[in-house]
């Protein structure tokens, strides 16, 4: 961004990478996939690079309001300094914080989550999900991120994005407003869970796996809500079923849950951006 500013230019959108997108090895792949899509459609974008700092979301949810506001003011100063109007991010936590909590501190931007952004690209015909990997006949179930769904009422965009993949889309029993948290929000990502019967991500992964393993004749489309299918024996390969996520924390949590159930061999966790990039043949 600094380079762009030095040339006196302002980008159309600022891609807010987020800490997970910048540092988490798994999620860096999502960042790259999303950037390839941005390049592919030729959007004029920029990133802050080293000038980006944590939005303060984990600090705020953990109760450290002071640290949150320090981070927020610093980021707002940076963004305002560059005259940013529009921010796109793949992280629902960054999205929520910048969209809902920055305005009171002087940061007013149009903030878009990448699921909504991808949906727009699809609607405009700029992304067709053709020419790359085919998802025909593969099963995908979408895990709602709390900070996208309940926190901001975004339920349709990620589903609309998945619809172009021509895969078999299944809904979990708890989805949309009734979705179950992956267990990472509210700063849980950085601490051990409190003692209990089970970890939240395992509970959620079990539910996702049960949905993906469901019997073929009760395949539900996106309008369906419940999947009460009998569960197939674990390990029966279905040609790579997918748990789709739209959040870095959900990604980590669901991947760990799948590992916990020893199903990595046949079930993978992908972000929407990765799925679209593969379908568009942008993986090189």
């Amino acid at each position: 961004m600094a380079d762009l500013a030095a040339r006196g230019e302002t980008p159309e959108i600022l891609f807010w990478v987020g800490c997970a997108g910048a540092f988490d090895d798994r999620y860096k792949r999502v960042t790259r996939a999303f950037v390839r899509i941005l390049e592919h459609v030729g959007v004029n974008y920029a990133v802050l690079g080293m000038e980006e700092s944590c939005t303060g979301d984990p600090a705020k949810r953990a109760g450290n309001e002071f640290l949150f506001q320090m981070q927020a003011m610093q980021n707002i100063t940076t963004l305002n300094g560059y005259g940013i109007k529009k921010v796109v991010t793949a992280c629902p936590h960054c999205f929520n914080t910048i969209k809902n909590e920055y305005p009171a501190l002087g940061g007013e931007y149009e903030v878009i989550h990448h699921s909504t952004f991808l949906q727009q690209l699809i609607n405009e015909g700029k992304v067709k999900a053709e020419g790359g990997e085919s998802f025909k006949g593969r099963r995908i179930t979408f895990h709602d991120s709390c900070y996208l769904g309940r926190a901001n009422n975004i339920y349709e965009a990620p589903r609309a994005v998945l619809e172009v993949l021509d895969a078999d889309l299944l809904e979990m029993k708890r989805c949309k407003t009734n979705g179950l948290c992956c267990g990472a929000g509210g700063a849980q990502m950085w601490k051990e869970p409190e003692p209990g019967k089970k970890d939240i991500n395992v509970e959620r992964a079990e539910e996702a796996l049960a949905t993906l393993d469901g019997d073929a004749d009760v395949l539900l489309n996106l309008q369906g809500v419940e999947s009460t299918a009998p569960v197939l024996p674990a390990g029966s390969n279905r040609g790579g079923s997918v748990i789709a996520v739209a959040c870095p924390f959900c990604m980590t949590m669901m991947a760990d849950g799948v590992k916990n159930k020893e199903r990595e061999s046949d079930v993978q966790v992908f972000d929407l951006a990765e799925l679209i990039a593969s379908a568009e043949g942008l993986n090189a």
Binding site: V17, C19, A22, F23, D24, T31, R32, V35, R36, G49, M50, E52, C54, G56, A59, R61, A62, G63, N64, E65, F66, L67, Q69, M70, M73, T77, N96, N100, A104, L105, C146, Y147, R150, A151, N152, N153, T177, N178, G179, L180, C181, G183, G185, G186, A187, Q188, M189, W190, K191, P193, E194, P195, G196, K197, K198, D199, I200, V202, E203, A284
Partner: protein, 457 residues
Amino acid sequence: MHFSIQNILFLLVAVAGFGLFAWQARKIRANILVGRDRDMSGHVNERLWKTLLVAFGQQKMFKRLTPAILHLIVYIGFIVINIEVIEILIDGIFGTHRVLSFLGPLYSLLTGTNEVLGALVVLAVAALWWRRNVKGVRRFTGPEMRAWPRLDANVILYIEVVLMAALFLMNAADLKLHGASLPGAFPISQFLTGLLPDSPTALHVLERVGWWAHIVGILLFLNYLPSSKHFHIIMAFPNVYYSRLVPQGQFSNVDSITHEVKAMMDPTYQVPAPATEPDGSAAAPTPFGAKDVNDLAWTNLLNAYSCTECGRCTSVCPANITGKLLSPRKIIMDTRDRVEEKYNSPLIFNPNLYGKEAKHDPQEQLDRENHTLLRGYVTPEELWACTTCNACVEACPVNINPLESIVEMRRFLVLEESAAPNSLNVMFSNIENNGAPWAFSPSDRFNWADDLFVAEK
């Protein structure tokens, strides 16, 4: 119209009943107002609309169909049958009999509907009782559901039956006494007349018994409400009216901190003068976050008085589902208990004993002098288990927000006591030092771009 000792008695009973209720309501209002100020004015249309949908329209109940229908019957029955109460009041005061009968066919419609609804209410109540006591729906249990809340839940069901029985007794006796000359329609009572004695004196007495039982029952019920979760039949309306209108993901902003941070970043920033007491002395600084009930916003206390203890919040809480201590319902019930323990109990009798039994830490329990909402009732372990997922907020049929109270108490733990779990302190210092919750150097922030156009598997 003929005045008699009955009218005077009735007047006394009615005045006492309503007066007592007003006295209790005033105390509860005072309890709610010990909470911190929060400006909830404005957005009147939006708020009214929400109240219409969620409180009158029971919108959020319909997430679960069976209880929604049963609840709807009792709710509509309650409202419609209360039209009868208007008649009873007028009859009682002026010594008239069935004063609304001048309405003619409309009166028949009214009494007829009343009876049908009354019968439906009895059936619904039976079904609700069965769900609660026999079927064992999971959310009706849990550590916070002590003896009193469980009894309380049933008491209302019994009261409903008694009130309906009184109504039918009154109608049936009246009908047998007057026969076809009685105005109104009595689709249910007409089958009950056979059960009654034939003597007109006895019938007259039975009619009076039914009549008095109905109205006295209602007045007793009214005064039972403030001690009970059934207070929600009143509080749901203001509670929904004052519910949050911003996105659920938006957490409140602490203004005093904003001033401090601004002053740190910009030395020329003018921090507004601290608040003063009415007498001009500087007000004691308010703590960050909430330690006790008076540190919560008044809306959070309003929440506590509106809770139906239905447990919908707890049954969708991911922490609770996976066996952690956290139960959003408990947080809300604790808040109510604590308000009533710390301030005047507004109740004639004080059965809200669940808090005293619900504490997790026996040591805290001994320290009754010094305890507060936080630690005295709610343990840090509960608070730290929350993922801030908003499932509880979404689930609550009366728009209660347990999450807000949870975050306020977390704020107190972190900002006043520095009592966050150690791993969170590590996260805080990472953000402070590296601008990221993980221990990575900011100079590595762009590394993801290194192999951007290298093929990936």
